[in-house]
Symmetry: C2
Subunit: 515 residues, 2 copies
């Protein structure tokens, strides 16, 4: 240990040498030489106990949740689950990994972001990329044609993490989906109602829900002269309009994707359009657009959707926006995405102030999205039977980030336990009495704690209560034991009152149910 | 499609040919020939639409949870979490995968069961094998020396699945751990109190909690003449006593592990001992055992533990059992395991009726286990600082299996949604009115559903209520609209009453809070 301390001392002073040279802007050679000495010292220490070489971290793009973050997370989940349950959803769960082939061919270009498991002599497995494909697999496998379900679970993407903006490689999705053959746009409208309710209840500031339809996009591409085989790739360029100004998007269409300038300009006119039911009506009369049957079907459905949204009283936040494209391959009809429009909550994605989304202020990015996918279940069914589906996914990590920032900024302390009372003593040798009392409290269903020390100091017991927000202390002493009472102390006011052992449980319940 | 049906017909009759030949024990050549024809037919069908070759299943050893299973699972979790919270625990979460090196060297022989991720050009990752090692990594990484936390999450083991007995490759663990330097056996006793409370509240039938100490095992091996370097391997043979009779265990020790017959017999005497505080006292006076300081330290702690368990009022279910070994490498002190002793709930592991556990009736296997691991956090700390820990893990999958069987056997239907009221109509063209009403109910926080059809039949709406246990129906018709009322129907009694629109929300809340 002597040796180790000496080496650590040497590392410290060598570190200062390096820092000094850097601050003096010494020559690279000189700095490198001293850094090499520093590394050698560190290696000596490492060789000493072997532990220093160990990298103590979580995997790239992932994080632990500490108790405070968990308390916030559970509050958010509880709001979301309440909403899903209010709308009559059941819940299911699926394994974290699927057979690799289950995920194959469902995500287009994004397939490269799937995590594969090592082949350890068995099936080839991949971590789930979203909850939608496992849901479709579940429906096909169990021949379910009708269900309204939610699923809250982690999904995995080998994406470039941007953790300060809430983009992780392991992250939660909160999905709500309605499967079944129903009359058009009714379940679709309910999904939007749910997004509206959740974002309102979480009090994240103002938001917009953009709506579009894959059929309108396809029809628009057709009438603007995009060749059939370029629909998908042009669509994925349009999808970048929330991050890039139109000029750049157009450039990508023309130079990278080989679209004619004329076609691009025609697309440019449409994708700048935003409105409501009126815009859908106007486009149904649009000379060019009305030439596409596909587009007209989409536009009629948008009209119908808005009539239901009026009944659901959510039209104040919903915008029909022809620039909304969404990346995933499996959407077949209506698509939507919710964004927070309030500034200053989280850093905006670069370039958001320009381009199509400028009117909405600085966007903090999408917090919910979804759409209709009528073909996905059929891809899993041996007889290709279709089960029409529509759903929404709440992008919970960004919401966590915002809630965490709000909690940091607020003066209110987040409690991480629910303990109602601490059983404490002021004198020595009362461990047995404390354990007996805490047992009585636990057995009566009261949330109680006791210090795991034979003779703890009263001050340290009270400090623990202050720190973790425990409202009451039940104090035992020789006198109290003689009198058959417990001194009940209110932590916030320091008020103390003797309560008989018989009345203690009732008294604690009364006082903590009030709070 | 015609063709396909014909091929399917041909496959069917060819299948019968093969079955017939097999039942007649025809020659191998003959059978092979007909099987080849069958396979060719199947390939034709596969080539026809390509979908038939797709395997529609979850990965080996994993399963989906359907809504009914989820309802049971959530009830079990809620009981367990309530107990953890009653004892003042916070909760944390960690990623599903860790750096591979984080798990290396923690699980002894079981390391081969770890799932590795494919090397996709980045860090080498493995799925977590338990929640204890990630917890220790979390403590070391965040320099936490004091915490009482629970963690409920899935863990992964490439074990041989036995799904009917609740053994999966992906399964939940519910862990409660206390980290910190405290006076001996107080947190350890609380862990046992928690197991006792949870198993009692879940009403799984009678149970026993076996207790032992690694130091007693080590001391026992020493005094029985086991060479130092054979402690671990002999310990893992002792661990099989709950599945194998003593004779087989002894045989493994002598013939496979090379232990002397004499030493094995001495071990045999000790591992048949069961008792309480009295047994610990007796062994402290045992001529042979008292020669080992290690064993004496363990025995004194068992004595102390039982004195706390008496105060916690749980000694009726706790047995000091010298045959309890537990496999994991990281335990350093007290260890424990809870087993259900009731017969007939689940199929018993083979051989359980013989041997050491015969007295306890047929064991359905361990449902909880844990112990003290004072060295694990230090393995992650660059300065090897120790953080003493003790914890327990509830083996929830076996509990689910039992609860599911109980639910199947019971007449009470498990509800999978919480819907209070269905908004229905008896006449056509009332979709708009239904949507308006359900919006008013949702906005008032009532759990409500509406059929996604323009003109649904009243009967099918009522049937849906019966099937999913929805207690109330709010029925709208022309007359009701004219009168400004809603017909509220109680599904169970078929009683109907007109309620004014103003009073409807209050009336639904009143009726559903009663239930």
């Amino acid at each position: 240990m002597e040796d180790k301390a000496q080496i650590q001392e040497a590392i410290k002073s060598q570190g200062e040498v390096v820092r000094k040279l850097k601050s003096e802007k010494a020559s690279k050679e000189q700095i490198d030489e001293e850094v090499a000495k520093l590394l050698e010292l560190k290696a000596q220490l490492g060789g000493d106990d072997g532990k220093n070489q160990f990298v103590l971290k979580t995997a790239k793009g992932t994080r632990d949740y500490n108790p405070k973050q968990m308390a916030i997370r559970e509050k958010v989940f509880s709001t979301i689950v309440s909403c899903f349950k209010r709308h009559g959803a059941e819940t299911i769960d699926t394994p974290v990994f699927e057979l690799k082939e289950t995920l194959t061919g469902k995500y287009g270009e994004d397939s490269k972001l799937i995590y594969d498991l090592k082949d350890q002599g068995g099936e080839l497995l991949s971590l789930r990329y979203d909850l939608t494909v496992p849901f479709a697999r579940y429906l096909a496998m169990n021949k379910i044609t009708n269900i309204k379900r939610y699923h809250i679970a982690k999904v995995y993407r080998r994406d470039n993490p941007a953790m300060t903006r809430g983009r992780y490689r392991e992250f939660y999705q909160c999905d709500f989906d309605i499967a079944g053959q129903y009359d058009p746009m009714i379940p679709d409208a309910e999904c939007l109602k749910i997004v509206y309710e959740i974002l309102s209840e979480l009090e994240l500031g103002d938001f917009r829900i953009k709506v579009n339809d894959r059929r309108i996009l396809d029809g628009m591409f057709a009438v603007c002269g995009v060749p059939d085989d370029k629909f998908r790739t042009i669509c994925s360029t349009v999808d970048k309009l929330d991050k890039m100004p139109w000029e750049e998007v157009k450039k990508e269409m023309v130079t990278e994707k080989g679209l004619s300038e004329e076609a691009a300009d025609q697309i440019g006119q449409y994708v700048s359009m935003q409105g409501g039911k009126d815009l859908a009506e106007r486009l149904l009369g649009d000379q060019k657009m009305s030439r596409s049957k596909t587009a007209c079907a989409g536009l009629s459905d948008i009209k119908l959707l808005f009539s239901y949204l009026e009944l659901f009283r959510v039209t104040d936040k919903v915008v029909f926006d022809l620039s909304l494209a969404r990346g995933l391959d499996y959407y077949t009809g209506i698509i939507y995405e919710a964004i927070l429009t309030q500034t200053g909550v989280a850093p905006p994605p670069s370039g958001a102030q320009n381009g199509a989304s400028a009117e909405e202020g600085v966007s903090v990015g999408s917090v919910a999205g979804g759409g209709r996918y009528d073909g996905l279940v059929g891809m899993f069914d041996p007889k290709s039977r279709k089960v029409p589906c529509v759903g929404v996914s709440i992008g919970i990590e960004r919401i966590f980030s915002i809630m965490e920032q709000k909690a940091e900024a607020s003066a209110v302390r987040v409690r991480t336990t629910e303990v109602q009372v601490m059983v404490a003593s002021a004198q020595k040798n009362l461990l047995e009495e404390r354990l007996k009392l805490v047992t009585a409290l636990w057995d009566a269903g009261i949330k109680a704690e006791v210090t795991y020390k034979k003779n703890p100091k009263l001050l340290s017991q009270l400090q623990h209560c202050e720190e973790s927000g425990i409202p009451l202390v039940a104090i035992l002493g020789e006198q109290e034991l003689k009198d058959g009472v417990v001194k009940l102390r209110v932590v916030s006011t320091r008020e103390e009152v003797d309560v008989s052992r018989e009345e203690l449980i009732g008294e604690i319940k009364r006082r903590t149910s009030e709070a």
